[in-house]
């Protein structure tokens, strides 16, 4: 989301065309919208909730699934990821993701806001509603939590065998070269104001051809001041592509490149504490309300809808996985149920503010069932060792969600449709067209992240090496990497 400042920079870049259109700007400055404190309150707590998802949520969800000798290594990798990424976010991450880029703006932003330059307690960021803004710091905090959790998701794929030093290097590289660009491509746009103002100028121009042409240029410029996938029209309410597919494919690449754990398939690698995994899954659920409903950027009916959707899609997916497991194995497991819940959370992420509750239940059922098949059958068939099913849950769940979002966002299927800021109404919805656009965005993410991640793994391998020795792996990474043990009962 760009803010008023962006609007101004845009203005500069288009100075010639703007001559006729600038009349509106002083007025805009005069009655610049101020944040509603209800929105601010909601964005602040949503940010806290997303941190809760990551630490301790995700850390425990993952940590419970490894053997106790690797518990601390997982906790540490997740905690470290949050720390290093949040500092990077302030230093340049926010800037390259959410400011206008110079040169490759459809791919990556610029450095004009490095170190949050120019942001004050009075700066605001636009939301998806024209004239509704939130404090820019709140927006920065909220988006920071997204940048933190995404690479943390990846570590599950190569858990129990990657050296801490490798993770320590991988995360900053990955977030810089994979996450920031993808987030920019999917989420960066000029914001409602630039478009509404420009659209109004076009209308106001009336029969005056010169004025109209100029105004249309401004409008086109505003529309094209956005990331590549955004320009395609891809929709992703809270990060199905940016977060889950992105991390999921990176995880798969890691699992493939790094190879299986010592003893994989021979020794028991039973989770050391499903209690921790359950706590983690529950906190993911609770925190995900901040993630999904917070992505409305307002404390609105849409946020409430996103919350209901996030609730029931998760529930439906948990039930679907449980049922499938009951049918196939005869006993439904807690791990299955919470895995299903996470799959549902992943899948409803892009749809949360677009689909209706009934549509979300269907999305959940589909995700629960498909991810179950993937984790319990497909994976075994291929035989790679994605330790904690990052690919099977996040990438597959993310793809299911991205595509079904196109289906259940359709107003005819109870969805909210897509808002057209130029026309100031919900746009006509062509379902298959949207499905294709979603597929395109998915493909972009799979390719960018897949290829980017492979390169980064290679680089890390060359610099510090990826894998622990067999002896270290047997002894456990907690002792080997950190000189501690998780438990001394």
């Amino acid at each position: 989301m760009s803010d008023e400042r962006n609007t101004r920079r845009l203005t500069a870049a288009l100075a010639s065309a703007m001559v006729l259109a600038t009349a509106a700007l002083p007025a805009l400055a005069a009655d610049a919208p101020v944040p509603n404190k209800g929105d601010t309150s909601w964005m602040l707590i949503s940010s806290a909730l997303v941190l809760l998802m990551t630490v301790p949520g995700l850390a425990l969800f993952y940590g419970g699934l490894v053997r106790s000798k690797n518990m601390l290594s997982i906790l540490m990798q997740v905690f470290y990821t949050v720390c290093v990424v949040s500092v990077i976010w302030v230093v340049y991450g926010y800037s390259v993701t959410f400011s206008e880029g110079t040169g490759f703006n459809s791919i990556i932003g610029g450095f004009s806001k490095a170190f949050l330059k120019g942001v004050t307690v009075d700066s605001t960021a636009e939301t998806f509603t024209h004239k509704v803004v939130i404090p820019e710091y709140a927006y920065i905090a909220f988006q920071m939590t997204f940048a933190c959790i995404t690479p943390a998701l990846i570590v599950g794929a190569f858990a129990e065998r990657l050296k801490f030093s490798a993770v320590a290097l991988f995360v900053p590289l990955w977030v810089t070269f994979v996450y920031f660009p993808i987030a920019h491509m999917v989420w960066y746009w000029a914001g409602p104001d630039a478009i509404v103002t420009a659209a109004k100028a076009v209308v106001d121009a009336g029969a005056d051809v010169a004025k109209k042409t100029a105004a249309e240029a401004v409008l086109a410029a505003a529309n094209s001041n956005a990331g590549m996938a955004f320009q395609w029209g891809a929709i992703d309410f809270a990060g199905g592509t940016v977060v889950h597919i992105n991390a999921g494919i990176a995880g798969l690449m890691g699992a493939l490149m790094i190879g299986k754990r010592v003893g994989f398939g021979k020794e028991s690698m039973a989770p050391h504490s499903l209690t921790m995994t359950m706590i983690g899954a529950s906190l993911l659920w609770v925190g995900w309300f901040g993630f999904n409903a917070g992505s409305a950027l307002e404390a609105s009916g849409t946020a409430a809808l996103a919350m209901v959707n996030t609730f029931v899609a998760t529930a439906a997916a948990a039930l679907a996985w449980t049922l499938a497991e009951n049918v196939e194995k005869g006993r439904p497991s807690l791990l299955g149920m919470v895995s299903g819940a996470v799959a549902g959370l992943v899948a409803v992420t892009p749809a949360a503010g677009y689909a209706g509750p009934a549509g979300s239940i269907v999305i959940g059922l589909a995700a629960g069932f498909i991810c179950f098949v993937f984790c319990s059958t497909v994976k075994n068939k291929f035989g790679y060792d994605d330790s904690l099913d990052v690919f099977g849950v996040h990438c597959i769940g993310g793809i299911v969600g991205a595509i079904l979002t196109a289906v259940f966002a359709a107003p005819s299927l109870g969805g909210q449709g897509i808002f057209d800021y130029e026309a100031n109404k919900v746009a006509d919805y062509v379902l298959m067209k949207q499905v294709l656009i979603q597929c395109k965005a998915v493909a972009l993410t799979l390719l960018w992240s897949g290829i980017g991640s492979v390169i980064i793994y290679k680089v890390v391998d060359v610099i510090v090496g990826l894998r622990s020795t067999v002896d270290e792996e047997r002894e456990g990474l907690d002792i080997a990497d950190h000189g501690e043990r998780a438990y001394n009962y």
Binding site: L65, M269, A270, S333, L335, G336, S339, C375, S376, D389
Partner: protein
């Protein structure tokens, strides 16, 4: 002196302890162990991974007794630990050559309890 080692089902521990106490055998050492035998284990499934768990939780009781008490001790344990179901466990009797009570330095039979 003999060491009577019994491997029993965990929930029988309290009854066995009582039975031995009733005999006047007021000392024993207990450990949690896992047993493998005729009693079959179970299968655990964690997402895609299936593990056959062959070892079952058991409790190992070690009681040092003077040679004269052995058969009474063994009988008491059998009586208390028996359910008649497979997996009830085993008793092994071995010989102790020497024993010491650390607190007092007493040795052999007087050290036992």
């Amino acid at each position: 002196m003999k060491l009577v080692t019994a491997i029993i089902k965990p929930f029988k521990l309290e009854e066995v302890r009582q039975a031995l106490t009733d005999l006047g055998l007021q000392g024993m050492t207990v450990s949690e162990v896992k047993g493998y035998g005729r009693q079959k284990g179970h299968t655990e499934i964690y997402r895609g991974a299936e593990y056959a768990v062959n070892f079952l939780p058991k409790v190992k009781i070690e009681v040092a007794v003077s040679s004269g008490d052995v058969s009474r001790a063994v009988e008491a344990i059998v009586a208390a630990a028996k359910t008649g179901q497979i997996g009830d466990g085993k008793i092994f009797v071995t010989s102790i050559e020497h024993s010491v009570r650390i607190r007092t330095g007493e040795t052999d039979d007087t050290a036992l309890s």
